[in-house]
């Protein structure tokens, strides 16, 4: 019912919650929401809520990057966040979300991974970013990416003494050098909208997720949804994402 209403409104250039097509819902960001984490952020996007927590652990580097720390992003579509989510191992939507957020962070080189090397070839920091969905009212992806980069900006590197991590004591801030931001552009017939509500998400033909870095470079793309996107519409979608990314980036502190 709400989907039908959302569709009819969009045809007339309007949205259920009276937003413009290129307008995000109200965003609130709180940091340090979980005191055991090395850094954390709670993002509220309208009614959508996501928490990102960062934990650091020591581990071995990958053989092809012996002097660099590693980054792992994981997402939990916890059953408390939506009647459509079930407990159990992550489904394909959760895996996709985690991997798209991962690529935005990784490809932007937002972390100076060389500074996370402890002993070359032997020991490096592994940065875990865990994304916890709290309430799914649409656009979990952009909210998650925003939570992830904010949590990283607010994370610290723990102290190590004789190979043991001293929990609760920190030596430095996590070396974050860029602030990639994710903007998903939804397409419904010939209309393009940002930050879709769940009712709008359900009627979109397709979506294009665009991750944009501080210098306006695009560092990750993911086309989603059941329909194709006309080749000639792509550039317009990139432009919408780049423009909005500047606004969102100002919220990350």
């Amino acid at each position: 019912m709400r989907e039908r209403y959302a569709y009819e409104l969009i045809q007339k250039g309007m949205r259920i919650d009276e937003r413009k097509f290129d307008e995000f819902r109200k965003i609130k960001i709180r940091t340090d929401v979980s005191n055991k984490a090395e850094g954390s952020a709670h993002v509220t996007l309208g009614e959508t809520q996501v928490i990102a927590g960062v934990k650091l652990k020591t581990g071995e580097p990958y053989p092809d990057t012996p002097n660099e720390g590693t980054l792992i992003v994981n997402a939990e579509f916890t059953p408390l966040a939506s009647p459509d989510f079930e407990s159990g191992p992550p489904g394909e939507d959760a895996v996709e979300l985690a991997r798209v957020v991962d690529r935005g962070l990784r490809e932007s080189h937002c972390l100076d991974l060389e500074k996370l090397c402890i002993t070359p070839k032997e020991k490096v920091w592994t940065v875990f970013v865990d994304l916890h969905m709290i309430n799914h009212q649409g656009n979990l992806l952009d909210a998650s990416a925003l939570a992830a980069i904010t949590a990283l900006h607010n994370s610290q590197v723990p102290k190590i003494e004789e190979d043991t991590i001293i929990r609760g004591e920190y030596v430095s801030k996590l070396p974050v050098v860029f602030t990639p931001v994710n903007v998903t552009v939804g397409k419904i017939e010939d209309k393009f909208i940002l930050d879709p509500l769940i009712e709008e998400e359900n009627i979109l033909d397709s979506k294009l997720s665009v991750s944009v870095r501080d210098d306006d470079k695009i560092c990750a793309l993911q086309k989603m949804g059941e329909q194709g996107i006309n080749f000639d519409d792509l550039e317009k979608m990139f432009d919408m994402a780049i423009k909005k990314s500047k606004e969102l980036r100002k919220l990350v502190k």
């Binding site: 394909e92 985690a98 194709g228």
Partner: protein
């Protein structure tokens, strides 16, 4: 992307394997091979080999998964354990879970799912040998397999990769270029409709570079499309004789 390396990927304007910047690797396509399937195809992009088989439309089980007014498509992308340098553990992982999903969505727009309510078309892709661009090679094989199976489709889906290596924009990345390049783009389209059905990129590109790369990918797809149509015609014209 972005592993630091002194490896030169372009020497004197040519790529390490001797190709021009916009040149694809030799492509081979074969239809058939899996006679138990309703349709199958093997596609080779240089040293990347993908085989795909399509089953259906067939009844979807369990029944509660059936859709009353339309059929569904299921896909599985899988890499053979021996297809890569270090043996890959068999079975699905996060990467193959994601790729199976995006491949399904890349194929979905061409299929008349309304024509087979309560049924499924299952498409299985196995990567037998991996040297970059496996997902797009797999999509081409899958699309041919579906056409060979007689799945009701508006058109083929054609796919290719493109990327940026040593500062230059190139078509069809091989494994080394994929690992050590600066950006890679996976792309699939419905040529007759100018519709993009798979688009994934990682790297760091300006919008202008990205648009150029997309146009290169589109050109490659046109060539691949002609080859695919030729292979299908040869196969089925012969069958009619």
């Amino acid at each position: 992307m972005g592993h630091k390396s002194d490896k030169k990927l372009i020497v004197n304007g040519k790529r390490a394997d001797g190709r021009e910047l916009d040149q694809m690797r030799p492509i081979e396509m074969q239809i058939g091979l899996v006679n138990r399937a309703n349709g199958s195809a093997l596609v080779k992009f240089g040293d990347t080999h993908a085989i795909a088989a399509a089953y259906g439309p067939r009844e979807l089980m369990p029944r509660h998964k059936q859709e009353a007014d339309r059929g569904i498509i299921r896909t599985r992308y899988n890499m053979a354990p021996f297809s890569v340098d270090d043996r890959k553990a068999p079975g699905s992982d996060r990467r193959s879970t994601e790729l199976s999903k995006v491949i399904r969505l890349a194929l979905h727009p061409v299929v008349f799912v309304q024509d087979f309510p309560k049924a499924t078309v299952d498409v299985y892709i196995e990567i037998l040998q991996a040297d970059g661009s496996t997902r797009v090679t797999g999509i081409n094989a899958a699309s041919l397999a579906m056409a060979a199976a007689g799945v009701p489709m508006t058109d083929l889906v054609t796919a290719c990769s493109a990327g940026k290596i040593d500062g230059k924009l190139v078509s069809d990345l091989n494994g080394i270029e994929d690992n050590f390049g600066e950006a890679d783009l996976g792309y699939a389209m419905i040529p007759s409709k100018n519709m993009v059905t798979l688009l994934q990129m990682d790297g760091a590109l300006t919008k202008e570079e990205l648009v150029t790369l997309l146009n290169m990918a589109k050109e490659s797809c046109k060539k691949i499309y002609e080859m695919e149509m030729k292979v299908l015609k040869e196969k089925y014209e012969k069958a009619l004789e």
